[in-house]
């Protein structure tokens, strides 16, 4: 979203650059040095003087490269592309006449090699500015929403804070009461069931008595066989822990030397799941404390997995359902206690106008080839591989003073390095998005985060100014073209 602030300035230069057309690649800023007075040229720095005819003669005479603004002769020369209709550019001399079109006006290559794409480039620039402005406006609207959400969230917590202890105690009491009720009803039911069972058993015993004598011995045997089988299985497992590795395990172990990654070889890639084979050995365990949702709303759900609500059609079922609801209420009260502790009394910095409070209780993920990074703002950040392996890369440490970075520190220990850390660079964007999770240094992780919360009015004003300047410049160029001045 950062545009070209220097556009107007450079555009102005471009329009009055005609005078020095004779010297290829000359930066109009430096035109005074190239008057040719006395048939001499003095290198801009260093003071060496050469005949003026040696300017742009494709041989480097000046240590600063100033005698060859329009050729590739000097290793440090600078070629000025006028790029009329778009932004002028100072190009490394190395890129002059090298067969690659670097300037949109094609002036860096021999005539006919490149087409002039400056007007298209300018148009593309204009369209991207417009699109940026539109997005920025939308982002700022979202930001306003964030501020009110943050305010509402805080107010709600403050309201709750007044009664939270009572509410929590009441919810706890209700759960206890209902648990007792459930126990009582279950005890009643079990007495009843026991009686029924006893009756049924007596009936069955009577039926089976006839065949009992012959079958009894076999049944006993079956029982002991079953026992033997379990023992064998257990022994087998123990043995497998001590036995020699299989060819596959050996392959994986050797592969892991190269990457410190036990599953380096044969690990399923993103497109690999269609295939049979190596995935077999992996356990896809679901962890109760982890949700695959990218984002949690702080008003409902805690991301944990719960049993379905019991069927309330029987008397016991009805009380169980009530207990279920009461437990949910208690959990919510617990969370409210935590929220109040964290967000009201936790001494955390939520940024100007508490705007980052709008992101409270939310987690954001960035999925890379092998790893997924998850940042839960004000809490912690983890790096996951597949579903089962995860490592805490840091706990909430705070924002940088300019609110451009959030930092998670004190994560899980890393061999030879210390605790892991996670640094997230923040910038303005239309939506809350975590991206580019990586490990630039061993156990020091990083990612990028965009959010409307990072956008500000000044940037929008800057963009609008840029667009206005660009449009004015385009009108000017169009007029000149109309007057055939070009």
């Amino acid at each position: 979203m950062r545009g070209s602030v220097a556009l107007l300035l450079l555009a102005g230069l471009a329009l009055c650059a005609n005078a020095q057309n004779a010297i290829r690649g000359l930066n109009p800023d430096l035109a005074a040095h190239y008057s040719g007075a006395g048939g001499k040229f003095t290198c801009i720095s260093g003071g060496k003087t050469i005949p003026f005819k040696q300017v742009n003669d494709d041989y480097c005479d000046c240590a600063d490269g100033s005698d060859e603004p329009g050729t590739a002769a000097c290793h440090n020369g600078r070629f000025y592309c006028r790029n009329l209709g778009h932004e002028p550019k100072l190009l490394a001399a190395a890129f002059v006449d090298d067969g690659v079109c670097d300037c949109c006006d094609g002036s860096d290559e021999v005539k006919g090699k490149c087409s002039n794409t400056c007007l298209q480039a300018s148009a593309a620039h204009r369209e991207s500015l417009k699109s940026n402005i539109a997005q920025y406006e939308q982002a700022l609207a979202t930001k306003a929403d964030f501020i009110s959400q943050a305010r509402a969230f805080k107010q709600k917590l403050q309201t709750k804070a007044a009664t939270i202890d009572q509410d929590y105690a009441a919810a706890q009491a209700e759960v206890e009461r209902l648990k007792a009720e459930v126990s009582r009803l279950e005890a009643e039911e079990s007495v009843q069931r026991a009686a029924e069972e006893a009756q049924r058993a007596a009936d069955q015993a009577a039926q089976e008595q006839a065949a009992a004598a012959a079958a009894e011995h076999q049944e006993l045997n079956a029982g002991s066989d079953g026992h033997a089988e379990r023992t064998l299985q257990e022994e087998g497992q123990q043995a497998s822990e001590e036995r020699e590795e299989t060819p596959e395990e050996r392959g994986r172990r050797i592969a892991s030397q190269w990457t410190n990654d036990p599953e380096a070889a044969g690990v399923p890639s993103s497109q690999e799941h269609v295939n049979e084979g190596q995935g077999e050995g992996e356990e896809h365990e679901h962890h109760g404390d982890y949700s695959h949702q990218d984002q949690h709303d702080h008003e409902d759900g805690d991301g944990e997995y719960h049993e379905p609500r019991p069927d309330a059609s029987t008397p016991l079922g009805e009380v169980r359902a009530k207990l279920y609801d009461a437990e949910a209420t208690l959990r919510e009260a617990e969370r409210d206690k935590e929220r109040i502790a964290t967000y009201l009394y936790g001494n955390l910095d939520f940024g100007p106008e508490d705007i980052f409070l709008a992101l409270a209780d939310q987690c954001f993920t960035s999925s890379q080839t092998r790893w997924t990074y998850e940042a839960c703002i004000f809490k912690h950040a983890v790096q996951r591989e597949g579903y089962s392996n995860s490592v805490t890369v840091g706990r909430w440490s705070g924002f940088s003073s300019d609110y451009k970075t959030m930092l998670f520190t004190g994560g899980d220990e890393c061999w030879n390095v210390g605790p892991r850390s996670f640094t997230v660079a923040m910038s303005c964007g239309n939506e809350n998005v975590l991206s580019d999770g990586e490990e630039p240094a061993t156990c020091a992780y990083s990612a990028k985060f965009t959010s409307p919360a990072l956008c500000n009015d000044e940037e929008l004003i800057g963009l609008r100014n840029q667009l206005a300047n660009l449009e004015a410049f385009e009108r000017e160029v169009a007029e000149k073209i109309a007057k055939d001045e070009l």
Binding site: D57, A73, A92, Q237, T246, G251, N260, G266, W415, E439
Partner: protein, 907 residues
């Protein structure tokens, strides 16, 4: 399910072991004592059992044949000694009658030399021997005991079996009394069944009066080979068995990814070379006393020994090249800088890195993609989520004159929905296990089979996979990298294939193990050649395929690199002897990963590595998956500037480097040379490995330690030397001089007597340099003379083989610098002309002239003359703009394609 649980346990245990795993696992690999064929021959004196049967000795023009008897076993061997016109004699020893022992296939070597024989003259014969002469070489064959002594120009060069260590194990039936290890051997749970039993050979080669031997790569060790009867680890023989060695050490006799059984011995007045044409596992012992004694033990095959008798280093290498071939002339782009990383992760990453080079004005030519670019390590496919538009990506990179490389490894994922796997499976193209079914090993993709590239049929099929219609998502701008071709098998013995696996022709893997890599490399290169000829039937481009494994003959196929080194100063340092050794064994197109593969180099190590790396014949930066990003601009502006200057320095030197590659291509000469190779009479240089020559005209002294402010440079005597940055002459004081260094560069010198062509404009790639004018550096010797060459062709096709090249000789003598056509015997005449000119000539070492000099330039075509004054100025505007050490001829615009003369006269 049970399997899944067991695996879980295994992985959990592994997790605990990981921290300790970060080092060379010496005990994962066999030592001589743990290897039956080595331990039963090492230092075991069995040579006296062998005698020539006098009546069997027959001399026929160029060939002597004889029967060699093993008295103890009452077995006969056929000995054939042939003199060849290309400067060598060849000794073949095989069982008599033949039992079909394995011989290295003829396509590993080149052809032509077999029939170019040299006459052998019988000088004398006695009851117990015969003395033969061929050219300057004398061969003294003693019958009982069997010995052979070779001398060249009257100087003893080589003795065979003088220490009684020769042995040749004949095939035999199995007997109950056979010791353990004869018919079966187990190593770390892998049992090698040996259906043919023991069949090893021991060669006892003594280099009389020598102190230094070189060669037998690949290992991270000294240039002059240390004795192997010393302290650990040098109590073990050098091993030649291509292996994927994890985190190899920087000073160790252990053999790495490639093997070339070539050794050179050098002493004052004589260089001799030997090559044992054998691809089985081999151990080589070196002991030193008055002589250098070596014992070579190979597990199987035959004795096929070449002795190169050309007497000088260059002659020995030229002779070896007649047998094993010369370096394929590489495409010019491949001599530029290569940027690699495991892994450039997606198309956006590629675009950003490519753009980074332009943004920082650093030249580079090739961007590489490692294994993660594939769909699940299925080579020749793309991970479509990361690389949805590979063709557009390559075209974009190519629009700035650059290329890309993808990795393709020889293990093939066993997945019937993968076309390569299923096609090769149904055609029976895989290496077989001992039971005859497709070998199933473990590598990056998991369960894998391995293409049996020792079969010409398989290589032919493999080559066809590289055409742009077959390799989806490839373009003509894409080249290939062959890794893991030792072959690496993660769950195999010593991380490679079982020796009782079976190849084409029912050959055991034990016999041809060391050929797998070169054959795979060859098949891939053939593929790119085929693609090139489809893209442009007239002038298809030369293949570019990098390999890790190698053998004799790899030089004809493409470059190699020294594998997985580490970001340590010691690895920077050892790269020099490693590359010098490869140059001395016919494989000069090689390089080490700049920066070090494992670990994170700091800015200083990175800087010093680039400053050295620009002289590597193959120049690539590479890094491990779990290292910090280290593109040249990520270490701060000062470091970026230094690395930029270094890489630009490489590009400036490319005309010289490419000319050196032409010499490697025609006569087998190395690019980087040990000092002794250029100064063979200076004995104190024979072990010098801390500095080296680039061709014959530049001396380079890398800085190999941190915080270095001075280095001691040894200047070979008899030459003048000029600082290659400033042009300042080195004062002719002592041989070794302390020189100050700063971070901006390492000490580099021009040798007096050289003319070095350069291109000083710092372009973004080799393609962008194509039309640029040249600069000639003329560094005068004591007599005021100098000479040099420039080789130019289209830099990409085989047209040079039809004479479409330009090769000039520059000679400075009697104050006249001339350019004439270079003519080389046996090479078609160059007919190419190019419009390029020489924009600058800098003279170093002209005697002082009171009023200065002027140059009188005569155009050899028109005869016209004009005069230009010489100015005192910098050797190079980029490196030392303020220096005035050189006399500069400004803009003479001399055509490179034509004859001309520039006469320097005092004003």
């Amino acid at each position: 399910m049970r399997r899944a649980i067991a695996l879980g346990v295994g992985l959990a245990l592994l997790g605990l072991l990981l921290p300790g795993s970060l080092a060379f696992k010496e005990n994962e690999f066999k030592k001589c004592a743990q290897t039956s064929f080595c331990s039963r021959n090492r230092n075991v004196q069995q040579g006296a059992n062998f005698e020539i049967v006098p009546a069997s000795v027959t001399l026929n023009t160029a060939t002597l044949t004889a029967t060699l008897m093993n008295k103890q076993a009452s077995k006969h061997l056929q000995l054939t000694l042939t003199a060849h016109a290309d400067g060598f004699v060849r000794l073949l020893i095989d069982e008599l009658p033949s039992v079909g022992r394995y011989q290295v296939p003829s396509d590993i070597l080149v052809s032509g030399w077999e029939t170019r024989k040299a006459a052998i003259k019988e000088e004398s014969r006695s009851a117990n021997g015969v003395v033969l002469v061929t050219g300057d070489t004398k061969l003294e064959l003693n019958y009982a005991p069997f010995t052979l002594a070779v001398s060249v120009k009257g100087v003893p060069a080589l003795q065979l079996n003088s220490r009684n260590l020769f042995n040749f194990e004949h095939r035999r039936p199995k007997q109950d009394s056979d010791p353990a290890g004869y018919w079966e051997e187990t190593w770390m749970g892998h049992t090698d069944t040996k259906p043919k039993g023991p069949e090893a050979m021991s060669l006892d080669l003594v280099f009389p009066g020598f102190s230094h031997v070189y060669g037998i790569p690949e290992r991270a060790t000294s240039l002059s080979l240390k004795a192997t009867n010393g302290n650990a680890p040098y109590g073990e023989p050098y091993r030649l068995y291509n292996l994927d060695v994890f985190e190899y050490l920087d000073d160790h006799p252990f053999g790495l990814y490639g093997s070339i059984p070539v050794m050179l011995a050098h002493k004052k007045g004589l260089t001799v070379g030997v090559y044992w044409n054998n691809a089985a596992e081999m151990f080589v012992d070196v002991v030193k006393g008055r002589d250098v004694g070596t014992q070579w033990i190979a597990e199987s095959g035959v004795v096929d020994l070449f002795v190169f008798t050309g007497a000088t280093g260059p002659a020995v290498l030229a002779s070896y090249a007649k047998v094993a071939g010369t370096t394929a002339l590489p495409q010019l782009f491949s001599l530029g800088y290569h940027q690699c990383r495991w892994n450039y992760k997606d198309e956006a990453d590629v675009k950003a890195v490519d753009g980074g080079f332009d943004a920082h004005e650093i030249p580079y030519d090739v961007l590489w993609l490692d294994i993660e670019h594939t769909n699940g390590k299925r080579y020749l496919t793309w991970d479509s989520s990361l690389f949805p538009n590979p063709v557009a990506m390559q075209e974009d990179v190519a629009s700035r004159g650059r290329k890309m490389v993808t990795i393709v490894d020889p293990h093939v994922k066993r997945d019937s929905s993968y076309y390569i796997f299923s096609e090769a499976e149904s055609a029976g193209h895989y290496v077989k296990n001992k039971h005859g079914s497709d070998f199933d090993g473990w590598c990056w993709p998991g369960q894998s089979s391995y293409l049996d590239v020792t079969s010409p049929v398989v290589r032919n099929w493999w080559a066809q996979q590289f055409t742009t219609d077959k390799y989806q998502g490839s373009t003509k701008h894409l080249y290939i990298w062959n890794d893991m071709n030792e072959p690496s098998v993660f769950n195999g013995p010593e991380i490679t294939m079982h020796k009782d696996n079976l190849h084409y022709g029912n050959v055991e893997h034990r016999d041809n193990h060391n050929l797998f890599g070169v054959y795979y490399h060859m098949g891939t290169a053939d593929g790119l050649k085929l693609r090139g000829s489809q893209v442009d039937p007239e002038n298809g481009d030369r293949p570019f395929v990098l390999s890790r494994a190698f053998f004799s003959g790899t030089q004809r196929v493409g470059p190699i690199w020294t594998g997985d080194n580490a970001a340590q100063w010691s690895h920077l340092k050892v790269s020099v002897p490693m590359l010098l050794t490869l140059g001395l064994t016919g494989l000069p197109y090689s390089g080490a990963d700049v920066g070090g593969f494992f670990g994170n180099p700091d800015a200083e190590l990175m800087t010093r590595w680039y400053q050295l790396g620009i002289y590597y014949p193959f120049f690539r930066g590479h890094a491990h998956l779990e290292t910090q990003r280290r593109e040249p601009w990520l270490f701060g502006p000062d470091v970026t500037a230094r690395i930029r200057a270094a890489i630009r320095g490489r590009y400036a030197l490319l005309p010289h480097i490419y000319t050196l590659f032409r010499a490697a291509n025609t006569t087998g000469q190395p690019i980087l040379r040990p000092l002794w190779f250029e100064f063979p009479e200076q004995e104190d240089l024979y072990a010098e490995e801390e500095e080296f020559m680039v061709g014959s005209s530049m001396l380079v002294k890398p800085v190999t330690a941190p915080s270095t402010f001075t280095v001691d440079v040894t200047f070979p005597q008899g030459s003048r030397w000029y600082d290659a940055t400033t042009g300042a002459p080195v004062p002719p004081k002592t041989k070794t001089q302390r020189v100050e260094v700063n971070l901006n560069g390492i000490p580099v010198y021009y040798r007096g007597g050289s003319v070095v062509p350069r291109r000083e404009r710092p372009r973004r790639s080799t393609a962008a340099q194509l039309a640029d004018p040249y600069t000639l550096v003329v560094a005068a010797d004591d007599k005021g003379e100098a000479e040099g060459q420039l080789y130019v062709d289209d830099g990409r096709s085989f047209a040079f083989q039809r004479g479409l090249y330009l090769h000039r000789d520059f000679k400075f003598s009697g104050n006249k610098l001339t350019s004439t056509k270079h003519v080389e015997p046996g090479v078609p005449d160059g007919t190419l002309t190019v419009p390029t000119t020489i924009e600058r000539v800098v003279f170093l070492g002209l005697p002082a002239a009171k009023k200065g000099y002027k140059a009188v330039i005569s155009d050899g075509v028109s005869g016209a003359k004009h005069t230009v004054a010489l100015e005192a100025g910098p050797l190079s505007m980029a490196a030392a703009p303020d220096s005035t050490q050189a006399l500069v001829l400004r803009k003479p615009d001399l055509p490179v394609s034509h004859d001309w003369t520039v006469e320097i006269v005092q004003v």
